[in-house]
């Protein structure tokens, strides 16, 4: 079976609009969460989020492009450009029909939907922008990546709520392993920080009014973010042959379904995904130095995820470092796994474990080393990235150094 490696990474998120800035913020334990700024925010009870500030689309796109691009597609395109440059590519090598793009998103062009609804319902207009549909469709980001980089192989979008990015990256790995593609752009993108998008989230009453405190005894909910992460994935032998700088190998992937509840997580389904990723990677729990947790900061997720890690890791659970970077960049929903994979690269390549910030008090129900508040130096040979979605869909990636 072919091995799959990451040779490029790109991101736009509330911490920074590139990978080096994001890694620096993660290492410093800096928060990108602040006051939300968009129309009608005063009518929300949720006033904070990991909103991307100072993003200038006109710097990245001309007018004719911009008119077709919802922010979630803009973030994806900008992240992909960084990833391709990092991989050393002006264009994909070889046969373009052997390259594709798989992108996760939950809400797709949610802000386009919000704008169009505002026009027809609130402003009484009878007309919306002619490109409303191509902007809002969930596959827009994947399609624009394919168009920009002339990727003519397997390309599509994946919508598994908060696990979308991990499913997208895992499927891209399987495409290369199976010989259906030689290389892929994969990741996820989300932009739901608008009045309608957040109003829907408020209804569930799972948001924190003040801060995201994953695994903390005082946690009281999630804080939403936005952004994208995109990775260049290649066949290991091809990457090595061209002398590429390999950032990590994606050694394992597993997806499971709880088949239980539409919102409540299930420890057994999550534990099966963790065990499956380890098995697929040929790794034992004590070889994992870092777990980037799903760690949303809700009562239910963090308790369940901690139980799942303890169940899957056994005695090794006491030694593995576990952190949730959502406390810094917010929960980027369909894009979150891709943004969080950067924390795994930070651990593997720079020996820095990003902290779980906003930690006030240990929760005895968690019982894990959650790297509270301050980053830690450690040599990490292999890492996991967890993503557990509403709907009980779990996706775990296992990464290792090459």
């Amino acid at each position: 079976m072919r091995r799959v490696v990451i040779t490029g990474a790109g991101t736009v998120n509330a911490l920074a609009q590139d990978v080096p800035g994001t890694l620096r913020a993660m290492a410093e334990g800096r928060s990108g969460i602040g006051a939300l700024d968009f129309p009608d925010v005063d009518r929300l009870t949720q006033k904070i989020g990991g909103q991307i500030k100072g993003f200038q689309p006109e710097v990245h796109f001309d007018r004719s492009q911009m008119t077709l691009l919802d922010p979630f597609a803009q973030f994806a395109l900008v992240a992909a450009r960084e990833a391709m440059a990092m991989a050393g590519f002006d264009a994909v090598p070889g046969d373009p029909t052997r390259w594709g793009a798989i992108m996760g998103t939950a809400g797709g062009g949610n802000s386009t939907v919000n704008d169009a609804f505002r026009q027809v319902f609130a402003e009484g207009k009878n007309r919306v922008h002619p490109f409303t549909v191509p902007r809002l469709m969930n596959n827009a980001a994947a399609s624009h990546l394919a168009m920009e980089w002339r990727l003519m192989g397997p390309s599509f979008s994946v919508a598994t709520a908060c696990a979308s990015s991990n499913h997208a990256i895992g499927l891209a790995v399987q495409m290369i392993r199976a010989g259906l593609a030689d290389g892929m752009l994969a990741g996820g993108s989300e932009s739901m920080l608008n009045f309608g998008g957040l109003k829907a989230w408020e209804g569930l009453r799972v948001m924190s009014p003040e801060a995201c405190r994953p695994f903390c005894a005082t946690r009281n909910g999630m804080v939403q973010g936005e952004g994208a992460g995109v990775f260049v994935l290649e066949d290991y032998e091809a990457a090595r042959a061209r002398g590429a700088n390999i950032l990590a190998e994606i050694k394992g992937f597993c997806m499971t379904s709880d088949a239980a509840d539409i919102v409540a997580p299930d420890a057994e389904g999550a534990a099966r995904a963790i065990r499956g990723a380890l098995k697929d990677a040929g790794l034992a729990p004590d070889q994992i130095g870092y777990i980037n947790a799903h760690g949303t900061g809700t009562a239910a997720n963090d308790r369940t995820e901690a139980a799942a890690i303890r169940a899957a890791f056994g005695t090794a659970a006491a030694r593995v470092a576990v952190s949730s970077t959502k406390a810094m960049h917010g929960h980027c929903i369909g894009g979150t796994g891709a943004v969080e994979l950067l924390a795994c690269l930070l651990a593997l390549n720079e020996g820095v474990i990003a902290p779980t910030i906003n930690h006030v008090a240990d929760d005895p129900e968690v019982g894990l080393d959650v790297v509270p508040n301050v980053a830690r130096a450690a040599r990490v040979e292999a890492a996991l990235s967890n993503a557990f979605a509403f709907g009980g869909l779990n996706a775990v990636l296992a990464l290792g150094r090459v």
Binding site: R205, V206, S208, R219, N220, G221, A300
Partner: protein, 93 residues
């Protein structure tokens, strides 16, 4: 306790629990009604819509909220306080 408020809340809870309103009594807990956390969020929403009030409630810490949900009667009293414009009593009260 105002009978109309109590009747309306019992009607909301009975609908959510798929029970006859005659079987829902003030001393009953939400557990006894078989209501899970998702149903509770719907109940809170229905109460807000029915009485045109904003209920302080976070599903992450339902027992920590200012809004007492320890029993059907407690919910009725909490709604009456919100309707009366009085500050909600602490959950421990």
């Amino acid at each position: 306790m105002r009978a109309d408020v109590q009747d309306q809340i019992i009607s909301i809870l009975a609908r959510e629990a798929v029970m006859d309103p005659a079987d829902v009594h003030p001393e009953m807990s939400l557990d006894e009604l078989g209501l899970d956390s998702l149903s509770l969020v719907e109940v809170i929403f229905a109460i807000e819509e029915t009485f045109d009030i904003a209920v302080p409630f976070n599903a992450n810490e339902p027992s920590q909220s200012e809004f007492d949900i320890s029993s059907v009667g407690a919910i009725v009293r909490a709604v009456e306080r919100l309707l009366g414009g009085l500050a909600p009593a602490p959950a421990a009260a």
